[in-house]
């Protein structure tokens, strides 16, 4: 991979981290409301995955969507403005943290009903199949989402009809406070694809390059065979499920252990170790992520609230 792409991936991961850290502060300050689920700790998954897509490949995910939005090329300004409920946000301030989308970037939304977007992902791929192209739909979801019927119906349909979906399970070991083994008959989520005769594999989701390579190969397989594939990325969220999680269900030692395995730290060390970048170059990217985040907060704060005419706008398409 060329240096430029590697550094871009590094930058995106740091940008997600910085933007969400500021988001958490703004939430505490009461400027962001509703539910906000941070992606901190899981940045390598969507960064590696989306770096491996072609722009024509579609992305759809759950409510933990800020990172995915940034990786898809939605600006930090628009993401922050949506968090603050401003009209300049991705969804005009009407969707909030859980509902970022930009069809021009082929980002088909964060979706808040667990598993609900999986049949829709099958449908995006169905639309492409019907149109006769070989676009791939990348559908991301959590481990918890594999226990709801939607998951099973969507996978079965995709395999039966030969739909080009790359199912990406972000196994962060918990669905809210419920550990995988307390809720799922098998704790290796990829095994669930076996029941549908679907190709599958597992990847270290804390290592962005491993995710990138696994995703690149899987996307290629999906595109060429016209069959779905399930990729399970092993990861961990460093923060609570959403803001205000008392975290009674896991030990702080466990969290610490995973934090030592920080995906940004791992990639930083890799880039230096392999001489892809100098410390000064990476520092400059860190500084740019910080500056972009500051700009995004200023932009969002200065942006107008949606006017009352927005209340009734878009209930129906014109």
């Amino acid at each position: 991979m060329d240096k430029e792409k590697l550094l871009q991936m590094y930058f995106e991961m740091v940008q997600i981290r910085r933007l969400e850290e500021r988001g958490a502060e703004l939430y505490q300050a009461g400027k962001i409301g509703g539910f906000m689920h941070l992606y901190i700790g899981q940045e390598a998954v969507s960064t590696g995955l989306i770096a491996a897509r072609e722009p024509r490949d579609r992305v759809i995910t759950a409510y933990r969507d800020h990172g995915v939005a940034l990786n898809c090329g939605i600006s930090a300004n628009e993401v922050m403005a949506e968090l603050l409920g401003k009209v300049t946000g991705t969804s005009k301030g009407k969707g909030g943290s859980m509902h970022m989308a930009d069809t021009s970037k082929n980002m088909w939304g964060g979706h808040a009903i667990v598993g609900g977007h999986l049949p829709i992902a099958s449908g995006l791929a169905l639309g492409d199949q019907y149109a006769g192209n070989d676009n791939v739909t990348l559908c991301m979801f959590g481990d918890g989402a594999t226990n709801i019927g939607y998951f099973h119906e969507a996978l079965n349909l995709a395999k039966t009809w030969g739909l080009r979906v790359l199912w990406v399970c972000e196994n962060n070991q918990y669905g809210m406070g419920t550990a995988v083994e307390r809720a799922s008959a098998v704790d290796e989520i990829r095994q669930k694809a076996e029941g549908y005769g679907m190709k599958n594999s597992r990847v270290d989701g804390m290592n962005v390059l491993k995710v990138y390579e696994a995703a690149r190969d899987a996307i290629k397989t999906v595109r060429e065979t016209g069959q779905p594939y399930l990729l399970e990325a092993m990861t961990y969220r460093f923060r609570g499920h959403s803001m205000g999680d008392p975290e009674r269900y896991r030990q702080q030692e466990e969290v610490k252990k995973w934090q030592e395995n920080d995906p940004i730290g791992i990639f930083h060390a890799y880039l230096l170790g392999k001489n892809f970048a100098t410390a000064a170059e990476l520092d400059a990217l860190d500084a740019k992520a910080e500056a972009d985040t500051n700009t995004a907060v200023e932009f969002a704060e200065a942006s107008p609230e949606p006017g009352m005419e927005e209340l009734f706008a878009d209930v129906y398409a014109d």
């Binding site: 509703g34 539910f35 409920g85 918890g144 019927g149 419920t178 009674r248 269900y249 209340l311 209930v315």
Partner: protein
Amino acid sequence: MARITMREAISQALMEEMDRDPAVFILGEEVGVWGGTYAVTKGFYDKYGAARVKDTPIAENAIIGAAIGAAMVGQRPVAELMTINFAFSAMDYIVNQAPKLHYMFGGQFKVPLVMRAVGGGGRQLGATHSQTPDAIFAHFPGLIVVSPGTPADAKGLLKSAIRSDNPVLFIEHATMYQTRGEVPEGEYLVPLEKSTVQRPGKDLTIVTYCKGLELSLKAAEELAKTGIEAEIVDLRTLRPLDMQPVLESFKKTNRAIVVEEGWKSYGVGAEVVSRMYESAFDYADAPILRVAQKEVPLPYNRALEQAALPQVADIVAAAQEVMK
């Protein structure tokens, strides 16, 4: 009598019923180790153990379906739907199975099931997580739909719901868990199918329930300052609907409004108002008005969301309109 919160009242009802009847158990997402998303079952897991406080997978169909089955063989499950919005993911079980089984099999199957669900808007959770779809559920014969507006009613109604041999959907409001009120200690039952007057008045009748009660009580205070005494009738149970206190009040005041948080179209108000016209048309001195949510999915932005939800000022304005 102790002054406790809605949360404590619901929690008390659950605990008392679990202590009273070993057939009562709880299942739902995050009800155990987490202690309930709204902390209603905090401490239950330690007290009753994993067999009676069951953390489930995220699988609403399996939660309600399995609860129905367990109820059919004599247990008394209390299934928690983390929010009523997720009831749509289990709609077949809630409206197409639970309410039908007793009737369709000639009275052989009983389904003594309680489904607790948290509803309501106002927390900036966006369109799919903020709904008040109570009327939809109240459409189905065979289902009992309860939605209390005070802590005492929450306790008394939930205890009755758990003892009922019928499926009961028990709808709580996400913004009312801190609401305080006097609640009798120990055994306290409120009958499931009775509306009640929550505030006496002579000039106008406000029919409402749940969050609407909180708003209407505030509106009544405002109206009292201008010399209008509103009588507030709290439906408490949406199905079966007890119209008697509504009609008695209306025959006295001759003017009425209905307040609900859900959408107006095909809503609770539509049902109540047509029943009022059907049986008390001659008593009306003014058209009966409805206060409800604007006909939009709820937006995230705080100001827009508040503009969409019924407010105290809307109730005051509607009351003044029917008093003209």
